[in-house]
Symmetry: C2
Subunit: 288 residues, 2 copies
């Protein structure tokens, strides 16, 4: 990916556990501003009358469960034109029939599971390339991903980590993602799974990247590859590592605990906007 | 408490689940720099030969379990002179016999449980006043607190909160602590229980306070009421809210989600130092 090339398509990066209309978001009972299925609805709004959505369940170890869940969810918001691509091998990821389906879809949604499966099974294959090409060229195309499907979108992906009460260099595994998004690292289920430390560690390692932690039922909509708007019921946490002045990350041998200063952190919610390139923030106007 | 009055005693504020020599700290198996029972040992080092420790189990709903646990732990490091004060009523907190015992102790340790119990049962009583007086006047006296016992030490205490994937004004309950420490708010079990959001919210509400989040088996030793050194196997997270420029905390009615920008965050580990008054940080010298 190249900064000179501005993608025409959109990305919808979701923090996992987006509301599927079954009352599973506990905040629903708490928050009068809760919007049922806000995020999945976003996937079909401003599309043609009967948009084709392809759900890619590569990350999942329970693809049949995911299929049932998303079929019901999309039905609930009036969308029946949903396909499921359970690509689990490299051979399948090279199959032209899947490439054709990508080219006919208006939306692709990567389900949750293990991001490492998406990166290693789909990375560099004709299916991944078709998604990328269409994302760059087609303004009506949206690539969405939730949980693992969100983590895998950027060039740098958190694979695992955040196991202990301190940060250890050997604990965090990062790898290459699908490269649909530049300049940031994504983490998901951010509040409930207490992932502040692990995303911070990824940013200490890659201080030129913006850390974006997404709560559950929370998403960012990315236009032109860098213009971002927050949506959903939870929080979007930005970690900016550009002002770090002290860290021992280059000195700790093996398993010494890592320290770092001056992370700049922003906690954003629905309707806040930010720019991944310039780090500029914009807030919703107060409602009276 | 008054900034002009510098306490002569020390505070040891512990993030909960300090190692008691039974292999309960999972990092022990991970980290070659792990020191067994580092924190509890600190409580008896630099003291007289047979220091008297009084453990106050007011916060706990299982005081007998706590008693057994701490008795065994202190025995393990050669300390047999341990008393237990299971004060569960206001009447007991007014009992002169407990005041006498405080006055004869070199260390008081508040156990974990519910900080609201400590604040409401002990707050303002002769027992609390005896602890405070001795802490201010006696340089050989240490007040320690773990988990609930740590949260209750400052003037402002987090009672509960951090329930959802976003911050809601109505979710966070804060109250008054014992007032042994000025200028900060303490949270504990910080990484494992994912409490970044809840401490951040307490700081948005009280931006003049320094947020201090302590991992498990992690502690800060406070001298002169503001000079701090980190110890233990986990992480100390500092949240500095003095540079906030945008937040909707004054506009959100009822249950709108809160946003905030420009929290400055430092992640510290054993041997890092900081000052609660000046926010200055000091790092351990690199070891070769």
């Amino acid at each position: 990916m190249n900064r000179q090339t501005i993608p025409k398509g959109k990305l919808l990066i979701i923090g996992g556990a987006e509301d599927k209309g079954k009352g599973e978001v506990d905040m629903a009972y708490h928050n009068p501003k809760f919007v049922e299925m806000e995020i999945l609805k976003k996937l079909i709004s401003s599309k043609s009358e009967n948009p084709r959505i392809e759900v890619i369940t590569t990350a999942s170890n329970e693809p049949q469960k995911q299929k049932k869940r998303y079929k019901e969810a999309f039905q609930k918001i009036g969308c029946e034109n949903v396909g499921f691509m359970n690509i689990q091998t490299k051979t399948e990821a090279n199959d032209e029939k899947f490439v054709d389906r990508i080219n006919k879809a208006e939306t692709v949604l990567f389900s949750g599971g293990d991001q490492f499966k998406i990166a290693t099974i789909l990375g560099g294959t004709p299916v991944a390339n078709a998604i990328k090409d269409k994302y760059f060229l087609d303004k009506n195309f949206t690539v969405a991903g939730t949980s693992a499907g969100a983590a895998v979108a950027p060039e740098v992906m958190i694979q695992s980590g955040g196991t202990y009460e301190a940060l250890f260099e050997s604990d965090l595994k990062t790898g290459g993602g699908l490269g649909l998004l530049e300049g940031c690292i994504i983490d998901t289920h951010f509040l409930k799974r207490g992932r502040f430390g692990r995303l911070a560690q990824a940013i200490i390692r890659n201080p030129g990247q913006m850390g974006i932690g997404l709560g559950e039922d929370t998403a960012i909509l990315v236009k032109k590859g860098h213009e971002v708007k927050c949506l959903g019921s939870g929080m979007v946490v930005i970690i900016d590592g550009r002002e770090i002045t002290h860290t021992n990350i280059n000195e700790v041998k093996d398993d010494g605990a890592i320290y770092v200063d001056n992370l700049r952190v922003h906690l954003l919610v629905r309707d806040c906007k930010f720019d991944i390139e310039t780090y500029e923030l914009e807030y919703p106007k107060p409602r009276s």
